[in-house]
C-alpha cells in the first residue's frame, strides 16, 4: 500500500501474502489486548481517557492510582521482535538474509524469506511426508560444533559449517512449504529450530 500522505491519488493494491500475515498478526494482537483490558475492567480497573505514549493503547488505572498499559507491560512488544539488538531470532534471520543475498541467484522462495523476517516462525503450510530425509537432514543439521580452543583453521571450518547448516535450512523451508502431512511438517520445523540453534552456537564460537 503506497501511503505517502500527499495529495496525489493513491492507487490501492491488494496486500501481498506477507502483508496479510502481518495484518493478521496485528489483528490477533489487538484482540488479545482487548480481551486483557476487558478482564482488567471487570476486576475494577478504571479505563482512562489517555493513551500510552509508546504504543497508543488506552491506559488503565488500578485502585492504587497507578497507570498500567496492557500491551507494554504484559504482551511481548510487536516491534521488539524485529529488533536484532534485542532478539536473537531476528539477529539470525538478518544473518541469513545477508548470506542468501551474497550467494548466486537464489531459488524462488528467497524473496519471501527476505520480506517476512518477523513471520518466519509461523509458516504452517502443508509439507510432504519424507521422514527418512528429515532424519538425515536433522542429523546433518546437528553438525558437531568445532572445539572452541582451535585457532584460525577453525574459521574456515566454521564458515563451511554455517553454509551447510544454511543449505539444510533452506532445503527444510522448501520442504515445509510443499509438505502435506502434519508429522512431517512438525519434524521439519524442529529441524529448522535445530539449524537455527546450530547457527547461533556457530556465531558464538566465531566471536
Amino acid at each position: 500500500m503506497a501511503l505517502n500522505g500527499d495529495e496525489e491519488d493513491f492507487e490501492w493494491e491488494p496486500p501481498t501474502e506477507a502483508e496479510m500475515k502481518v495484518i493478521q498478526a496485528r489483528r490477533e494482537r489487538q484482540d488479545k489486548i482487548s480481551k486483557l483490558m476487558g478482564d482488567y475492567l471487570l476486576k475494577g480497573y478504571k479505563m482512562l481517557g489517555e493513551c500510552c505514549e509508546v504504543c497508543g493503547t488506552i491506559l488503565l488505572q488500578d485502585r492504587q492510582q497507578k497507570n498500567y498499559c496492557v500491551s507494554c507491560q504484559e504482551l511481548d512488544s510487536d516491534i521488539d521482535k524485529d529488533n536484532p539488538a534485542l532478539n536473537p531470532q531476528a539477529a539470525l534471520s538478518q544473518v541469513r538474509e545477508r548470506q542468501l543475498a551474497s550467494q548466486s541467484p537464489a531459488p524462488s522462495h528467497t524473496p519471501e524469506l527476505n520480506e517476512s523476517p518477523s513471520s518466519s516462525q509461523g509458516n504452517m503450510s502443508v509439507p510432504q511426508p519424507r521422514p527418512e530425509h528429515c532424519e538425515g537432514a536433522a542429523a546433518g543439521g546437528r553438525t558437531p560444533l568445532p572445539p572452541p580452543a582451535v585457532p584460525s583453521p577453525s574459521r574456515l571450518v566454521l564458515q563451511e559449517a554455517e553454509e551447510a547448516v544454511l543449505t539444510k535450512l533452506r532445503w527444510a523451508t522448501n520442504q515445509l512449504q510443499s509438505s502435506a502431512s502434519l508429522e512431517a511438517s512438525i519434524q521439519l520445523c524442529s529441524l529448522i529450530t535445530s539449524c537455527a540453534n546450530s547457527l547461533r552456537s556457530l556465531k558464538e564460537v566465531s566471536q
Binding site: 482487548s34 476487558g38 471487570l42 475494577g44 479505563m47 482512562l48 481517557g49 488506552i58
Partner: protein, 632 residues
C-alpha cells in the same frame, strides 16, 4: 493539563473492542454471569448487560458515550448493541482503509480514513432510515408471526395454532435471558397476570403498557428475604409508608379519605420573622406567644372538626404534619399517613378520581374519596398501608392491583423489579405503531429518564437525523405485535434480505453505494448469530436451515425492538465516528454525577460508587474528558 488528543479510528475500535470483550462471555443463552462484589462484602450475580456496563469504571469519553447510548435505547439487548457496534466499526474501518476518499485532500491517511468512515456511517444511517423497515417487513416478518394483545396465555389460544404465540411466551424468553430457566416461567406468568389486570378497556395496548411503565415504582413492592415463588399480586394499591398515628381500630367500611398536599397547620411564621403580640393598640397584660399558639390550635381544631363532619377517617399527606395535627387527629380517631411520595399520591388520585386539598380552610365533599378499606399490611420487614378502591363509574375501568416481588436478597429484588420494568418497556415497543415510534421515541425517553444531559443528547441526535434524512416519513408500517423466533433468526433473515437487496440493486442500476452499504450491514449482522453459536458451529448451520423453514422454537423475540436496536446502533456509530478531539478538563465531583440515570438502589448510595465491582470511593478532583464533535 494533558494536551489535546486527536482521536483516530484505532482508538475508537479499541474502546469498543474492550467493551465487547467485557460482555462477550455473558452473551447468548450459554453466557455466564458476572459476580459483583462490594467493599462492604455484598455480592450479586447478574447477566444483564446494562448492569455490567454501567458498573464499569470508564473515564474514556467514547466508552461512556457507548454506555449512555445503549442504556437509553431499549430495555433489553444491550449486549447485542455492543456486539453489533463492534462488528460494524470493524467493517467500516476495513472498508475505509480500502478506498480512501480521493475527492478531498487530507493531511494524512488517517484523516482520509476517518473521513471515509464518517461518510460510510452517514450513508448507513440514511439507508437504514429509508429502506430497512421495508426489508424487514418483506424479508423477516413473513417467517415470524403476530401476537394479539388479547391472548395472554397459551390456554386462551385456539388449539389449531401450531406455533402457540402468546404474550407469555414472549415474556418467558425475555426473562430466560435475564434469570435462567429456574424462575422464568413463574415470573412471566406473574407479569401476564399483572398486565391483564391493568388492561384498560377501549384503549390501545400501548396506553396500558405506558401507564404500567410510568407508574411501575408505585405499582410494585420489593420484599427481600423470601423465595421468589412468594411473589404475588395484591388487590388495590400499596402505599409505601406506615401510619403515623395508630391505625383505625374499628374496621367500619367504607372508609373515607382525603389527600393533603400541604400541612394542615399553616406556617404563619418563618425564621427571621418578628411577631408582635398585642391586640390592636389596646394594651392588655399577659398577651404572649402562648395565646398565639392556642389561637392557632383552635383554628386547627376547627379544620379537624370540619373533616369529622364529612366522615373522613384517613388523611394521606404528601408532607410531614406537625405534632399538633397528629395529636388532634388521634383524638378524633383519624389515622394519618405522612410523606407519601409524589408518584404514589398521583396514582392514588388518578385511581380514585378525587382532588387533593390545597386550601385547608375550604374542604368540600369532592375532596373526599371512599375506599373499601385502608389497613396496614406487613410485607417482609416493613409495614405499609394497603388501600382498595370502590368500583365507581367515574373511575377508569380497570382493576388496580399491586405486585409484591420477593427475592432472597435486596440486590435480587431490585434485579427482578428492573427486569419486569424492562419487560414492560419491551412490550410497549412491540405494540407501538412503527412509523410513530421513530419520531416519538425521543419524547418517551424524556419521560422515562430524568437526566438532563441525556435529553439534549437524544434531542440533538433526533433533530440532526431528521434534517439529514431524505424522506422523513415512512410509508411502510410494521404491524404491531410482530414476533420472530429467538436465537439469532432476526439477524440471519435480515442478513439474507440485505444481500438480496444488494444484488438486486447492482443488477437494476449501478448504485454502488447502496450495494456496499447493504453488504456491510449484512456482514455486521451475521456476527450476532455467530457469537451465539460460537460454542458449536454445527448448531449455527443447523439453525440457519431451521430458520428458513420456520421450524425454530427457541422462544420469541420482538421484531420492532430489534429494529429499534439496529437504528440505535447505527446512530451510535455515527456519533462515535464524528468525534474529532478529546479535551480534558478538571472538575470537582462530589458524586459520580456523570454516570447515566440509574435505578433507585444506586441513587441512594451517593457516596459509594454504584455497581458492585470492587471499587473505591472517590470524592476528590477528577479529570473528566469531553468529546468534541466535528461539524460537517
Amino acid at each position: 493539563m494533558p494536551p489535546l488528543e486527536h482521536l483516530h479510528m484505532k482508538n475508537v475500535l479499541q474502546t469498543v473492542g474492550v467493551l465487547e470483550a467485557v460482555i462477550l462471555r455473558s452473551f447468548g443463552p450459554e453466557g455466564g454471569q458476572v459476580l459483583f462484589t462490594r467493599d462492604t462484602g455484598q455480592a450479586m450475580l447478574s447477566r444483564s448487560g446494562t448492569r455490567i456496563l454501567t458498573a464499569l469504571q470508564l473515564e474514556h469519553p467514547l466508552a461512556r458515550l457507548c454506555v449512555w447510548k445503549h442504556s437509553t435505547a431499549t430495555g433489553d439487548g444491550s449486549k447485542t448493541f455492543i456486539l453489533l457496534l463492534a462488528s460494524l466499526l470493524r467493517l467500516i474501518h476495513a472498508a475505509a482503509s480500502k478506498e480512501p476518499n480521493v475527492s478531498h485532500s487530507y493531511n494524512s491517511t488517517k484523516a482520509a480514513e476517518a473521513a471515509t468512515a464518517r461518510h460510510l456511517a452517514d450513508k448507513l444511517l440514511a439507508f437504514a432510515l429509508k429502506e430497512l423497515d421495508e426489508l424487514i417487513a418483506t424479508g423477516v416478518v413473513p417467517y415470524g408471526g403476530r401476537i394479539s394483545w388479547e391472548d395472554f396465555t397459551a390456554t386462551a389460544q385456539s388449539p389449531s395454532l401450531a406455533n402457540n404465540l402468546c404474550v407469555q411466551k414472549l415474556l418467558r424468553s425475555f426473562f430466560h435471558t435475564r434469570f435462567g430457566y429456574t424462575h422464568c416461567d413463574f415470573i412471566s406468568h406473574l407479569a401476564c397476570e399483572l398486565l391483564s389486570y391493568w388492561k384498560f378497556k377501549n384503549e390501545l395496548p400501548s396506553f396500558s403498557l405506558q401507564f404500567v411503565s410510568d407508574n411501575f415504582p408505585a405499582l410494585h413492592t420489593p420484599v427481600s428475604g423470601f423465595p421468589v415463588c412468594a411473589s404475588r399480586l395484591i388487590d388495590g394499591q400499596v402505599i409505601h409508608r406506615d401510619f403515623a398515628t395508630p391505625p383505625l381500630k374499628t374496621d367500619h367500611q367504607p372508609v373515607k379519605a382525603v389527600v393533603l398536599t400541604r400541612s394542615l397547620q399553616p406556617t404563619l411564621l418563618n425564621t427571621g420573622d418578628v411577631l408582635e403580640v398585642g391586640c390592636g393598640g389596646r394594651m392588655m397584660e399577659e398577651r404572649s406567644i402562648v395565646h398565639f399558639s392556642a389561637w392557632m390550635e383552635r383554628s386547627l381544631q376547627g379544620i379537624i372538626a370540619n373533616l369529622q363532619t364529612l366522615g373522613v377517617c384517613v388523611l394521606l399527606s404528601a408532607v410531614k404534619q406537625s405534632a399538633a395535627v397528629l395529636a388532634l387527629a388521634t383524638q378524633a380517631e383519624m389515622c394519618v399517613v405522612e410523606c407519601v411520595s409524589e408518584d404514589e399520591l398521583s396514582l392514588f388520585v388518578r385511581l380514585s378520581g378525587t382532588i387533593p386539598i390545597w386550601d385547608c380552610s375550604m374542604i368540600e365533599p369532592e375532596h373526599v374519596v371512599t375506599l373499601t378499606f385502608c389497613r396496614p399490611i406487613q410485607l417482609g420487614g416493613h409495614r405499609y398501608v394497603h388501600v382498595a378502591f370502590q368500583d365507581s363509574e367515574e373511575r377508569i375501568t380497570v382493576k388496580p392491583c399491586s405486585l409484591v416481588i420477593c427475592a432472597p436478597g435486596e440486590g435480587q429484588t431490585e434485579q427482578y423489579a428492573c427486569a419486569l420494568q424492562d419487560a414492560v418497556r419491551m412490550l410497549l415497543r412491540t405494540w407501538e405503531p412503527m412509523h410513530a415510534a421513530v419520531t416519538t421515541t425521543s419524547k418517551r425517553t424524556l419521560q422515562s429518564h430524568k437526566s438532563s444531559s441525556l435529553h439534549t443528547d437524544n434531542l440533538t441526535d433526533r433533530t440532526t437525523y431528521r434534517s439529514s434524512a431524505i424522506q422523513p416519513i415512512h410509508k411502510c408500517v410494521l404491524e404491531p405485535g410482530c414476533v420472530i423466533s429467538a436465537g439469532g433468526s432476526f439477524e440471519l433473515l435480515l442478513h439474507y434480505a440485505l444481500l438480496q437487496h444488494g444484488h438486486s440493486c447492482s443488477v437494476s442500476h449501478d448504485l454502488n453505494i447502496d450495494t456496499s452499504v447493504s453488504q456491510l450491514l449484512a456482514n455486521a449482522l451475521l456476527s450476532v448469530p455467530q457469537k451465539i453459536y460460537a460454542h458449536s458451529p454445527r448448531h449455527f448451520l443447523e439453525t440457519q436451515s431451521k430458520v428458513i423453514n420456520s421450524e425454530l422454537d427457541l422462544g420469541l423475540e420482538s421484531v420492532s425492538c430489534k429494529y429499534q436496536l439496529l437504528l440505535a446502533v447505527l446512530q451510535c456509530v455515527r456519533s462515535l465516528l464524528k468525534v474529532d478531539t478529546v479535551l480534558p478538563t478538571h472538575i470537582a465531583l462530589h458524586t459520580q454525577s456523570s454516570r447515566p440515570a440509574s435505578t433507585s438502589w444506586e441513587d441512594t448510595e451517593d457516596e459509594l460508587l454504584s455497581g458492585y465491582i470492587h471499587l473505591h470511593t472517590h470524592t476528590h478532583t477528577h479529570i473528566v474528558y469531553h468529546a468534541i464533535y466535528k461539524e460537517e
